[in-house]
């Protein structure tokens, strides 16, 4: 038996994932591939480079907006939400 899974939520839905995963890994493990909508057209984005370089995988976690899901570890109680982050011009 491994350690107890992490319990978190995505857009309010309760989810679990093995301990030690990134937010991206935890979402993918639950079959969720898209967690960001950008621009007026609302085109979906998910993970792309997986190494913190492309910023496609931005997601909102609790009070933190627009963190890279491929870098940040998921924690118990995290409220993960669809992000609409897009850096302002300039």
């Amino acid at each position: 038996m491994g350690p107890r899974p992490v319990r978190f939520s995505f857009d309010g839905a309760p989810l679990e994932a093995p301990r030690g995963m990134t937010v991206a890994g935890a979402l993918l493990a639950n079959g969720i591939v898209s967690w960001r909508r950008i621009s007026a057209g609302g085109r979906p984005r998910g993970i792309f480079c997986g190494s913190g370089a492309c910023f496609d995988c931005l997601v909102d976690v609790g009070e933190q907006c627009a963190v890279r899901a491929c870098l940040v570890l998921v924690r118990d109680g995290d409220e993960v939400r669809m992000s609409s982050a897009r850096r302002a011009a300039g």
Partner: protein, 446 residues
């Protein structure tokens, strides 16, 4: 952190680890700084051996290169993990100050050093086509990292495509994890300059599972098709279908050759583009090899860059795999030690001579491989007017094509006209393709 230390190594992949070990064993005080949660870099992601990884679906702990095993045993007292270098400045006295912190804000601290080894690696090149921004379409490296570090896969029925020998081990690892790999699509019709076998021979050190990738793919019934590419992806909230085309030798889609495959992920790699943010901020000279769309840091025979006290090794200098990266890292490490006078000239010369002798073969192989998988201009016909050229700014391909038609002939001009490359990723992902586009407009294809 206080006091100026001897050496900082930025990047804990094969090159950075070797540099840290070499400088450390020459008596330098070394700090190894890396964005990962542990040493290993993108080829050997830290979670690859994390306790319990074997229980996670698909996680197959690999055989680590000796240097990585050594640094993990050595402890992490001077290893700053999960740390990003935000800024680097070198003062007139030759002291380099690095501003470092966590990935998403928070406390920032400074590290002052007398010598720095840049082993910042590379980002994968992905060429744009309609739908390449759909969720489920990722770099091949992302698929590798997610699988190796966390045992997760993006899709269950996938295509692996692009060009270069790195596609095979990624596809093989996915197949072994139970993913249905519909095909590996190698765009280069016949990688003739270097036989496939020679390409694979380069890999045992580069990707431990690579030995026998072709055999693994065959065992899982995965076809490796040369001269094919994914030229469009379709779907609403994620990729649902991929359009595959047969290519001519210049990578133009052959008329009438297209068909669709139902997939839930597509993993792509067309080679690597060095990560130059840090070298550029320190003023290191770079060069763009004729055959490639991306620049690399230039080094002398001791891995010294154009800036005194700044050394570079591995993919950031142009790439060629983990074996080459480790040797370059070792050389950079002892060169940093020599720069700091921790090695006497005779000892340095002897060690450097030994390393350079070992560098010859992997360098020759790397050059052969780079020449065997060149990007061909036919890909310029894959994007349509609405294809996203710059993922961050959502610039459509029609805008960059118009800017080129109106005279933009280099990346700064294209950026000024279209905002491409001004977003989150600083042009790391649109840059190589757009560099290729403007180069093709000015002369023969690169």
């Amino acid at each position: 952190m206080s006091g100026v230390i001897d050496v900082a190594v930025v990047g804990a992949g094969p090159a950075g680890i070797a540099a840290a070990l070499a400088a450390g064993s020459a008596g330098c005080e070394v700090t190894l700084i890396d964005a990962g949660s542990g040493p290993g870099g993108q080829l050997y992601p830290p979670g690859m051996l994390f306790p319990g990884a074997g229980q996670v679906r698909g996680a197959t702990p690999g055989q680590l290169p000796p240097s990585l095993a050594r640094i993990r045993q050595a402890g992490q007292g001077r290893h700053l993990a999960a740390t990003w270098v935000r800024r680097a400045v070198r003062d007139d006295g030759g002291v380099v100050t690095l501003w470092v912190g966590g990935p998403e804000g928070g406390a920032e601290t400074t590290v002052e050093i007398r010598a720095v080894v840049l082993a910042t690696g590379a980002a994968e090149v992905v060429l744009p086509f309609p739908g390449w921004d759909l969720p489920g379409v990722t770099t091949a490296g992302a698929a590798w990292t997610l699988l190796k570090s966390q045992g997760v896969t993006v899709g269950q029925r996938v295509l692996v495509g692009g060009t270069g020998p790195q596609l095979l081990p990624v596809a093989a690892a996915l197949a072994q994890a139970g993913v249905r790999v519909v095909a590996v699509l190698e765009a280069t019709p016949a990688p003739a300059a270097v036989p496939q076998a020679a390409g694979l021979a380069a890999f045992p050190g580069q990707l431990p599972e690579a030995t026998g990738s072709a055999a693994i793919l065959a065992r899982h019934g995965v076809p490796v098709r040369t001269g094919y590419a994914v030229v469009a992806c379709q779907g609403t909230s994620r990729v649902e279908r991929a359009v595959i085309a047969a290519l001519d030798t210049d990578w133009r889609s052959r008329p009438g050759s297209c068909w669709e495959e139902t997939v839930d992920a597509v993993h792509l790699s067309f080679g690597a583009a060095p990560a130059l943010d840090l070298p550029r901020s320190l003023g290191c000279a770079e060069v763009r090899p004729a055959s490639r769309p991306a620049s690399a840091v230039t080094c002398d025979a001791g891995q010294a860059t154009s800036v005194p006290g700044v050394f570079a090794a591995g993919e950031v200098t142009g790439g060629g795999g983990a074996v080459l990266a480790e040797l370059e890292g070792s050389l950079a490490g002892i060169s940093a030690a020599r720069y700091l006078n921790r090695l006497d000239p005779a000892t340095y010369a002897e060690r450097a001579r030994g390393l350079r002798a070992q560098l010859d073969e992997p360098r020759r192989l790397a050059a052969g491989l780079a020449g065997a998988y060149p990007l061909r201009p036919g890909w310029l016909g894959w994007p349509d007017a609405g294809t996203v050229a710059c993922r961050c700014e959502e610039t459509p391909w029609s805008a960059v094509a118009a800017a080129v038609a109106e005279g933009a002939r280099d990346l700064p001009a294209l950026t000024a006209a279209t905002r491409c490359g001004t977003g989150y990723c600083h042009g790391r992902f649109c840059g190589p393709a757009l560099q290729y586009l403007v180069s093709a407009a000015t002369g023969p294809p690169p």
